[in-house]
Each structure stands twice: as C-alpha cells, then as structure tokens.
C-alpha cells in the first residue's frame, strides 16, 4: 500500500517534468564542441535513466502504434554559422559494430522518424535543439530495428578536388512488441590468453548474444591465484563491440606488460547497459609475442549483486527485521516489567 503510494508520487513527478516547458529552454553544454559539429541526445526515458546506453543512444521498447518525442542538441564549435541537414538514416550492426548505412538510405525504422526542421543553421560557437518524433505504425511487426539520427555538415572542398562531408549521429535501437520488453541476455563462452606483437598480454572473451536485443559490450577482467599467489587488475575491456541478436564476437582486454605467464584464475565481468554477467576460466599467457593460447571454456559465475533490485530489497528486509526485533524487545521488556511488578 505504502510502496504503491510512493510509486504513484514518482510517476506524478515524472509526468510533471514532461509537462513543464522544458522544450523552450536549451540546456547548457557541459563540453563545447571544439571547432567541430557535434550531436548529443537530450531526452532519455525516466525508466531508463540509470542505463548508460540509454543516455547516449535512443534505446527503447514500445508497442505498435506508439508515438514519442526526443530532442537532439546540435552544436557548432566553429567560428562561423553552419547550416546542417538533420535526418534519420538506415543503420545496421555489421562486423560487431553499429554503423550508419552510407548515403541517404532509409529503412523501416528511419521511415517512422520525423525530424523537423531538417535544415538547421547553428550559430558560431552555439547550439540548436532539434525535435525528433517517432511514430510506430499500428501494424508494425515485433523485433528490434536500427537507425541513426544524423547531422550532416556541408561538404568542404579539399585541395585534391574532392569534397568531404561529415556526418555525426545518435544511434537508435528500437524494439517493438507486446507490453513485456524482450529479454537481453548474453553468455561468455570462452577466454583466450594471448600476447600481442609488442609482448603485452591480452585476453579475448568470446561473447554470445543469447537474448532478443542488441548489446554494446563493456566490462573488466581481474586475475587471481597467479604465480606466487599474485592478483592483478581489474583491467578494462575495450568497448565498441556491438553484438547483434544471436551473434558471437570477441571482446578484448589488454593487460599490463608486467603480467607473467600464469596460470591465473581469470574472472571477467561483462555488461551491456544494466545487464551484467561474470565468468571465470584458468588461463596461461604464452611466452612469445604474437602468439595465442588455446581458448578455455569459461564457467558462468553467479553475480554477487544486482544493485538495481537486491540492495533496496535487502534494505527493506533489514528494516523489517529491525522492526521485528524492536517489537520483540519491547514486548519482552514489558513482560519482564509486568513480572517484576507481579513478583
């Protein structure tokens, strides 16, 4: 009952925030676009504000017929006004990377997106807010689709005679389906130790997307139980790997030059947005540069924490327990007092 009331309060607050004339005011930039044309997403869904991916890209799950708005902040760091074209273009996940399809090609998702105005003049050292509306057809079939919200600067003629135009974009990962969002899930299949040409040890994790939505991988690797009982890390995994649904791709972690051969117990924690999984394997780094050990099958590790749900729940339970103890303590004190009074 209580939680419901608090929840209702939160929803009211969120709706009020939407209703406020936020569209009229342009947010101040944290970092100016230094001598270039830049773009950032202004709005993120309230429900996804903890998800780092949703802060950078348009990531959502909607039902057919849904309509929603997002805004782009287009900034011009040059000393002259620039007129840019803003439009939605086709995008795909290709070679484990998210790519805007070249040219002005459209796809189903980009055809659902309307940018108005499409031509925007951004003042020198200034910025403009560009509204973007999404309108999903009522008869849209389920599944995740990709597009990019692109800002195209005019072509600049090079001394060689060719012109170069630049585009910078915000990725869109839009899932359409029923009220329940499709599952995001992945598995770390194996870990492979190697030594690069420069002798630096590296670990390549093979990650398989077993869910129904694309993933942008990040994470870290820690080494333990090494030679002389040494531990090392954590070392950050390289980002930039986008896993399409059903795809498997390597994610590399480059370690410190000082790491010896092993064996080591390697624990890798991989995440995409708020989804996190861990796996372990015993690995040995090869001695010579430019060689790789055989991949070792990784065993999935249960996660120690799921900060989104477990901690508040645990706090709740602890609170209830504390309350119970207080009640029991109070009752026993009262009984003792009564016994004393009776005795």
């Amino acid at each position: 009952m209580w939680s419901k009331r608090v929840l209702a309060g939160a929803v009211t607050l969120a709706v009020a925030a939407l209703g406020s004339p936020a569209l009229a005011q342009s947010p101040r930039p944290v970092e100016p676009c230094k001598e270039s044309i830049g773009v950032a997403l202004v709005d993120i869904p309230k429900a996804r504000q903890a998800d780092p991916r949703a802060r950078t890209y348009v990531i959502d799950h909607v039902e057919p017929g849904a309509r929603f708005e997002r805004r782009l902040r287009v900034c011009n760091g040059t000393t002259a006004p620039v007129t840019v074209q803003v439009y939605a273009g086709a995008a795909s996940i290709d070679g484990a990377a998210f790519r805007a399809v070249e040219g002005r090609q459209t796809n189903e998702l980009s055809s659902w997106i309307t940018v108005a105005p499409t031509q925007v003049t951004v003042p020198a050292k200034g910025e403009k807010i560009v509204p973007v509306s999404f309108s999903v057809p009522v008869d849209a079939t389920g599944g995740e689709r990709y597009a990019a919200l692109l800002v195209e600067a005019p072509a600049v003629r090079q001394p060689s005679g060719s012109s170069v135009a630049n585009r910078v974009g915000v990725r869109v990962y839009l899932s359409v389906g029923g009220p329940k969002e499709p599952l995001s899930e992945f598995v770390v299949d194996s870990l492979q130790a190697s030594r690069g040409a420069d002798g630096r040890p590296a670990v390549t994790a093979r990650v398989r997307n077993t869910g129904e939505r694309a993933l942008d991988m990040a994470g870290e690797l820690a080494l333990a139980d090494g030679p002389g009982g040494l531990s090392a890390g954590p070392f950050a995994a390289t980002v930039g790997t986008t896993l399409a649904v059903g795809a498997t791709a390597p994610v590399e972690v480059v370690l410190d030059q000082a790491i010896r051969g092993g064996p080591w117990l390697a624990t890798i924690t991989m995440r995409s947005g708020l989804l996190e999984r861990a796996a372990k394997a015993s690995i040995i780094f090869p001695d010579s540069a430019g060689t790789s050990a055989a991949p070792v099958e990784a065993a999935e590790l249960p996660l120690a924490k799921d900060p989104g749900v477990v901690i508040p729940f645990a706090i709740g339970l602890l609170g209830l327990l504390f309350l119970l103890l207080l009640v029991v303590g109070y009752l026993s004190t009262r009984r003792k007092a009564r016994e004393k009074a009776a005795g």
Binding site: K4, E35, A40, V42, R53, S160, V164, N166, G240
Partner: protein, 175 residues
C-alpha cells in the same frame, strides 16, 4: 525514544520496498516519460589537407590517390561506448561531361592508426583498406577522448576513361 527508532525502521523498510517496485515498473519500458539530461557530444571535423597536393594523374588504368585532410573526432559523452567511423563516396563525374567513374572503384584507408590527443583509445580495423562504402575504424574507449586521423581516397581509373577533371563527394560518418 524507542518509538522514534521504530518509526525510523518503518520508513527505511518502506523506502526499500518502494525502490524495488520502481525497477519492476520500468521493465514495461514506457517511453512517454522522458527526462532531460545535459551530456557531452560526439563531434567530427575535417581540416583540409595541406595545399599543393597534386590531384592530377597522367594516363588511365592507374589509381588516383587523394588525401582527405585531417579528421578529428571528439567524444565527450559521459557514458560513451566508443564510436565507429565509416566513409563512402558518390560516383565521380566529369566536369562538363557525362562520363563517370563509379563509386565502386573507390577505396579508403587511413595513413596510420588514429592519434589520441585526449584519452587512451585503442582502435580496431585501421590496417585494412576498406571498400567504397565501409568502416574506417572503430574506437574502443570509454571516457572523454579526441582522436585525429588522415583518411585517404583511392580511385582506380578505368582504361577507357575520358580525359578531364572528375569530382565526387566523400561522406564520413561517425556514430
């Protein structure tokens, strides 16, 4: 005294339960409620190549190579997951004529792996020559970063090409 403590415990447990309830609601993924954030940007700029670069080739059946200047990508997004740069070109059209050299005759490369001016990016896919429409490099970094790189355009000029000046437009995309 004891009553105050008990009240504190009640408040605590209610907060805990409420916080649990919110993510459960979030799972339905409503998009109607949006929150405004102020974040950094992903930005790109190209400065022209040094003047005096020869763009003329003599004869046909050769490959025309043109530096495309210095491209700088700056990523100041707080939660960046890296970026991917790709390039494409239009067909090259003869000035004052109808002849064209198709876009498929073009390839791109980078003179070297991108140089980090801010941050510690690593890059993949920089060593290969990419086809007329394809990936140049993928930056793998989290955290604010700025990188500079020098893309180069290569155009294979067919044997039967009419003599003259051909122009086309190269588009670089970063997402």
């Amino acid at each position: 005294m004891r009553r105050t403590l008990a009240l504190g415990a009640v408040a605590l447990s209610v907060l805990g339960l409420a916080a649990t309830a919110v993510p459960a609601q979030a799972a339905t993924g409503t998009t109607t409620v949006a929150l405004s954030v102020i974040d950094g940007t992903l930005a790109i700029v190209t400065t022209p190549a040094a003047a005096g670069v020869s763009s003329a080739i003599v004869g046909t059946g050769r490959t025309f190579t043109a530096p495309l200047g210095v491209t700088t990508v700056t990523d100041t997004r707080a939660a960046s997951g890296g970026w991917a740069l790709s390039a494409s070109t239009t067909a090259f059209t003869l000035t004052g004529g109808a002849a064209t050299i198709p876009a498929a005759n073009a390839t791109f490369s980078l003179t070297a792996a991108p140089t980090n001016t801010v941050g510690n990016n690593t890059y993949s896919g920089t060593a290969t020559t990419t086809p007329s429409s394809g990936a140049l490099t993928t930056a793998t970094s989290s955290g604010i970063n700025t990188a500079t790189m020098e893309p180069v355009l290569h155009v294979a000029v067919p044997n039967e090409t009419a003599v003259g000046t051909y122009t086309g437009t190269v588009t670089q995309s970063v997402v």
